[in-house]
């Protein structure tokens, strides 16, 4: 059991590869973070943000251009992937196509010379754990997507690694199976009590599974923290709009606006989450309000999603009770403590909203 630590990590593909992937920028630039031992850390970000590159550098599948990768108390930059005691689950499962399920699971153990008897015992045990006992003689192409996924998991678990690495492992599954597997992974993490590093582009996965999220964009760390921290206290517009669906509404300010606690200058922005806003036929000066009109209404069952238009542009409002009105003009209003403010660079202006006083979401 060991912390994983990235110190000033950069990755620059050589010219040839770069042309294809990233024309000008480094894939990853000067990244620093710690993944505490035993945590379930999700690295999340839009595609091309460098999350897979980061993960692959931790696994040793990609050379580090600059900086140090620490696993426990050793720098592993030059340690071969096989010697890092890491197990990895890939997006396409990467099962060995010509080997049976049993062979797939036992392959890694055979390579490090575990005695046959022990291999068999461990394979059987893991197969039971992931419900694959009946399929040990099958080849991967005879299995369903979910079963293949479980073989990939079994192959990881059987090695008893210090560190599990998941590279978008659920994106090839259908929605229902994905939700199931999310739960299974959370349970697995609880049982194994080992560090999980999980890469995804899906913020819902990040929110529901992580106890630490590392949000990347264009090769840089945007924010590190617990899901609730990122949701409630985003450090910039990117984080604010990336976490949560629908995304936080960002209202660009073009003239000075005076609110109860502060004034907002042109160039800055105001943000509010769709689920924190309400609609009314009357303005109400106890709140921040904007005169708007409703563009579209989407009934989602338990909620209703409105698209509204006003002088700031278009925004989303999500209500649990449908808002029924015949009036042409409606008013969007938001509690002052639910507002976020961002400076002209998109960084959040601290200390102006009551969420600062909310409980601190510490790491486990």
């Amino acid at each position: 059991m060991a912390d994983v630590k990235l110190v000033n990590i950069s990755k620059d593909y050589d010219q040839k590869v770069r042309k294809k992937k990233q024309p000008t920028k480094k894939a990853v630039e000067d990244i620093n973070f710690v993944i505490p031992s035993g945590s379930f850390t999700v690295i999340v970000g839009p595609s091309g943000c460098g999350k897979s590159t980061t993960l692959r550098m931790i696994a040793g599948l990609e050379a580090v251009t600059e900086g140090e990768v620490w696993i426990g108390d050793r720098i592993v930059n030059d340690v071969k992937p096989g010697d890092r005691n890491i197990a990895m689950v890939f997006q396409n499962y990467a099962l060995y196509p010509t080997m049976t399920v049993y062979k797939n699971i036992s392959f890694g153990l055979e390579n490090i010379g575990v005695p046959k008897k022990e291999i068999d015992a461990r394979v059987q045990q893991v197969a039971t754990l992931v419900n694959l006992s009946a399929y040990l003689d099958r080849k991967p192409h005879q299995l369903s997507g979910g079963q293949r996924q479980r073989v990939a998991l079994a192959r990881a678990i059987v090695k008893r690694p210090d560190l599990y690495i998941f590279d978008e492992p659920l994106s090839n599954l259908d929605a229902k199976l994905r939700a199931e597997m999310r739960n299974e992974l959370i349970n697995m993490h609880k049982e194994l009590q080992t560090t999980f590093i999980y890469v995804t582009h899906d913020q819902v996965e990040a929110m529901s599974m992580a106890d630490q999220i590392i949000l990347l964009n264009e090769g840089n760390v945007m924010q590190i923290g617990s899901p609730m921290e990122l949701y409630h206290r985003p450090q910039n517009i990117f984080v604010a709009t990336f976490m949560g669906t629908p995304a936080m509404n960002i209202l660009p300010v073009t003239e000075v606006i005076s609110l109860v606690h502060q004034t907002v200058k042109p160039g800055e922005s105001i943000g509010y989450r769709p689920e924190k806003a309400r609609l009314s036929e009357q303005p109400n000066d106890d709140f921040f309000w904007v005169k708007s009109e409703i563009v579209t209404t989407e009934l989602l069952g338990s909620e209703t999603l409105y698209r509204v238009k006003n002088k700031f542009g278009e925004q989303h409002v999500k209500l649990t009770e449908p808002f029924i009105s015949t009036a042409r003009d409606v008013y969007v209003f938001v509690k002052h403590e639910d507002l976020y403010f961002f400076d002209e660079n998109g960084e959040r202006l601290e200390g102006v909203n009551t969420h600062e006083h909310h409980q601190q979401y510490a790491l486990r």
Partner: protein
């Protein structure tokens, strides 16, 4: 209307098949005919008896056992050597990065395109310089690897997803083990294809042994058969055809057993 169209199609099919099959059938028929029957006009369509005397005569007209041995040995050794040399090279070209890779790959492609008919002369001079004419060496060494095989195998190695290899690396597998347990099994159909291709082209080859051998006991089966036509006293077609039956039948049997694979093998070479 529909029915008659089908009738026309089937008769056309029959004609095409006959055009293809006739030379074979004619060879077979001639191989059983007596000399009298062979030189008769109009020709004898069906032999009067099916005895094997022509085959015996053909077989005994030269050291055919030696020819056969030479063919078997050289073909077999070439197959083994190709298996050994092709796979590592294809793996390196498909999966590893190294300086000079592009040049080496270009050389491979050039060798893929060069016909042996172009370079036989310098090769002959080389082998005669080394005193290797009339040995197995000139029939084996130039074919010890196959540019075509490397080309095909590289293609199929490239299709193996990178993640599978990375998985294996994380599973502590050595490069050699990765080749052995992942690449070779995945590429097995391609390997069989290439080796079948090599087998047929080596077994059938006439040109190279013609150039590289002068002594009778260094020759291969196709050469031995071809030599039968150069008898002074008129060509004994019945015996010549019997010899050809001996040459053709094994390949035809292999062909009809592994027909799917062979057709795939040859078409694949065409498509890719």
């Amino acid at each position: 209307m529909k029915k008659s169209l089908k009738g026309v199609e089937y008769s056309l099919l029959a004609i095409v098949m006959l055009l293809i099959a006739f030379p074979f059938l004619w060879m077979l028929s001639a191989s059983f005919q007596t000399y009298i029957e062979i030189i008769a006009t109009p020709p004898t369509w069906f032999p009067s008896s099916f005895d094997l005397s022509n085959f015996m005569a053909a077989w005994q007209s030269g050291p055919f056992l030696t020819y056969t041995m030479n063919s078997v040995v050289t073909t077999f050794v070439v197959l083994v050597l190709q298996f050994i040399t092709m796979i590592p090279a294809a793996y390196a070209f498909a999966r590893l990065e190294f300086k000079g890779k592009n040049i080496c790959w270009s050389i491979t492609i050039i060798c893929l395109m060069i016909p042996m008919q172009l370079i036989f002369l310098p090769n002959y001079l080389l082998f005669s310089q080394w005193g290797m004419i009339d040995t197995y060496w000139p029939l084996i060494l130039p074919f010890a690897t196959s540019a075509f095989g490397i080309f095909m195998l590289r293609q199929s190695f490239k299709q193996i997803p990178e993640e599978i290899i990375e998985s294996a690396r994380l599973d502590n597998a050595s490069e050699w083990k990765i080749i052995r347990t992942i690449f070779i099994p995945v590429a097995k159909p391609t390997i069989i294809t290439v080796l079948l291709f090599t087998f047929i082209s080596r077994w059938n080859d006439y040109f190279w042994p013609l150039v590289m051998t002068t002594a009778e006991d260094a020759r291969t089966l196709p050469m031995g058969v071809a030599l039968l036509r150069t008898t002074d006293a008129g060509v004994p077609w019945n015996e010549v055809m019997a010899a050809n039956v001996i040459l053709v039948i094994p390949i035809l049997i292999v062909y009809f057993i592994a027909q799917d694979k062979i057709i795939k093998a040859f078409t694949y070479t065409g498509i890719k």
